[in-house]
Symmetry: C2
Subunit: 315 residues, 2 copies
C-alpha cells in the first residue's frame, strides 16, 4: 500500500478484468469492444528504457567527472564544462591539487543543500584562483537544447542540454543550468566573483529554482546523492554543523580519469536529445501505470528523471 | 561562502559602499543620487515575520494534530479535516486505537517519500475501516482559498487553504491539497478505496505533484520532517527497507489533545489569509537580500515557506 507500488496493481489486475467481464455480461447497455484483442498498453518509463537502443545512452566523460569519496561511499558528479568552462576548469585544478582531500561536508540544511569545503578557512586556494568571473548563464549559441513541451515559471523556456536540466531565454540569447535535485553549484559570498569553486553544494530538496542565475551551476550528481541527502541536518544557522564532530569527512575528491581504471565507476546517462527521451518525458507527463487515476498532463522540469545506469560490460 | 549566507553580505557591505563612492567621485558621468537618504530596503521574510502581529499566527489545533514519536524525536503532523474529513476521522480512530504504536518507518525512497505502517501486514485494521472512499479532491465551496499570484502547471490555480498548500479547479468546483515537501498522504493499492489511513507517507523530496488527485492528502508535517528525510534510504525496490533491522521503530502516534499538557509541543503556524503572508510571498517571489543579483519574479507553490514557531508563552 503506497503511492505507486508497481507490483500491487499487477496483483490486482486479474480480479479487475474478471469484474469488467461480469459487468459486460450483466448489462446489455455496455457495448462489446470492437475487437477481442487486448488493448496496447501506453508506454511506461520502464518499458521505454527496456526498448531503448544502446545509442540512446552515453558514457559519462571521465575527464569531467568527479568522485567524492565519503566514508559511506562515492558521490559521482558530472561536470558541465560547456555551461561553466572557467569555473569547471578552476574546480578541476583544485581537485588535481588535492584541495578537497580531508575537508568536510560542513552544512546540511533540510530541504535545501548539502555543502562542502574548508570549515576552518585555513586551506589556501592557489594563487590567482581566489576570484573568478561568475558564469551564471552562457550564450546559447552552439548549445543543443531539447525543449520540454511544458511551460516553465522561472524561465522563458525549460529543457535539457546534454543530459542536464536547463533553461534558456531566446531573446537574451542565454542558457543556464537549473537548480534541480542533485544540481551542484558554487558557493559564494555577496560578491558574485567570490565563487571560485573551492566550496560547492548539491541540492537535496525541493528545487530552489530562485537560485538560478544567481549561482554558477557546474554539474549534477549522477550517483550517490542519497549519501548527502540522508546526512544529519546541521543545527546551527542555515544548517551549518555546530561542532566539528558532526561534520562528515571527505576522504578524497578525484577526477575519474585520474583514478586507476579498476577503481572507476562506469556509468551511462540517458541522452536527452533522443526519441527515447522524448517518449520518456511524455510517459511522465501522463502516467499510464494502472495505479494512476488522474494523469497530470504536465511535468515540471525538475520532476523529469534523467536515468543513469552502470555501463554495459562491452564498454 | 554559500548560496545565501546572510551574514556575509553584511560583512561586505561597507567596502562596497566605499567603492561606489569612489566611482561617483572619479566618473563625472555618474549622476549624484537625488537625495542623500539611504534607500528604504525592500522587505525580507525575516523583517516581515518580525513585524507580524500576533493575529497573523494561529495555534495548531490539538485535536487534529498528530505526534509521531520516533527514537530520534517527534514528528508533528497537522491534519486537515476540512480537506479529507472521512480519511482524517479514520486516521484519528486508528491513532486512538494505538494502531501505529510499535510499527515502523518501512520505506525511504530518496527524493520521494518516507512511508510508515505495518511492514508485516499482521496488525488488523478495525472492522469497517478496511476500505474508504477516496478524498482526492473536495467541493471548494466553503473553503477559504488564498490564491498564489503565479500560474501553476499542474492545476488551474494554486494557493493556500488554512495554512496548507493547495490547488483548485474553479470550473469543476473542486479544491485539493498538493504534494509539497512535508505533505502527508495515504498509501493505497491500485484500488482507490484501499487507502484507509493505516499506511501513511510524507514527501521528502522534490514535490511529486503528479500524485495530486491520485492520493488522499491528509495534512502536513509542521515540525520534524528532517527526522524522516535524513533516515537511511531503503535499498529494496522503491526504497523499501530490505531487512527489518533497517527500519525505524515508531514508539507511539498520539493525538496532541490526548497527550498530557506538559508533554505537548505547542506550535503556531503563520496564517495564509493575512496581509503578512501576502507580503511574505512577494518577498520570496523577488528576493531582495543583497546576495541576489537576479530576482526570480515568480515562485512555485511548493517553494513558498509556511513559517512555524513555538507558541508564545502567553498561550
Amino acid at each position: 500500500m503506497m503511492p505507486d507500488r508497481k507490483d500491487s496493481w499487477l496483483r490486482l489486475a486479474a480480479p479487475l478484468l474478471v469484474a469488467a467481464s461480469l459487468a459486460r455480461a450483466a448489462d446489455p447497455a455496455v457495448p462489446e469492444p470492437a475487437a477481442a484483442a487486448a488493448p496496447v498498453p501506453a508506454p511506461t518509463m520502464a518499458g521505454i528504457l527496456t526498448a531503448a537502443p544502446a545509442s540512446a545512452w552515453r558514457a559519462l566523460a571521465d575527464d569531467h567527472t568527479l568522485y567524492m569519496d565519503l566514508p559511506a561511499g562515492r558521490v559521482i558528479i558530472e561536470l558541465a564544462p560547456a555551461l561553466a568552462p572557467h569555473t569547471v576548469a578552476n574546480i578541476e585544478a583544485l581537485v588535481r591539487a588535492h584541495y578537497f582531500d580531508g575537508l568536510a561536508i560542513l552544512r546540511l540544511q533540510d530541504n535545501y543543500v548539502a555543502q562542502w569545503g574548508d570549515p576552518d578557512g585555513a586551506r589556501k586556494v592557489p594563487e590567482g584562483m581566489a576570484t573568478l568571473a561568475p558564469e551564471f548563464a552562457m550564450p546559447q549559441r552552439g548549445l543543443s537544447f531539447t525543449a520540454l513541451p511544458d511551460r516553465d515559471g522561472y524561465a522563458p523556456e525549460a529543457g535539457f542540454i546534454d543530459g542536464f536540466p536547463a533553461a534558456r531565454d531566446g531573446a537574451a540569447g542565454l542558457a543556464w543550468l537549473t537548480h534541480c535535485y542533485g544540481a551542484v553549484g558554487v558557493g559564494r559570498d555577496s560578491d558574485p566573483a567570490s565563487g571560485n569553486g573551492s566550496e560547492l553544494y548539491a541540492v537535496i530538496g525541493n528545487a530552489p529554482r530562485h537560485l538560478d542565475r544567481n549561482v554558477t551551476v557546474v554539474g549534477r550528481v549522477r550517483q550517490g546523492i542519497e549519501l548527502l541527502a540522508s546526512l544529519p541536518r546541521g543545527t546551527a544557522e542555515m544548517g551549518f554543523y555546530a561542532t566539528a564532530t558532526e561534520r562528515t569527512a571527505i576522504k578524497t575528491v578525484r577526477i575519474a580519469s585520474d583514478v586507476p581504471a579498476a577503481e572507476r565507476t562506469r556509468l551511462e546517462v540517458l541522452r536527452t536529445d533522443t526519441p527515447t527521451f522524448t517518449a520518456l518525458v511524455e510517459s511522465r507527463r501522463n502516467r499510464h501505470d494502472d495505479w494512476f487515476v488522474h494523469p497530470a498532463g504536465f511535468i515540471e522540469l525538475c520532476n523529469v528523471p534523467i536515468p543513469v545506469r552502470p555501463a554495459s560490460t562491452s564498454h
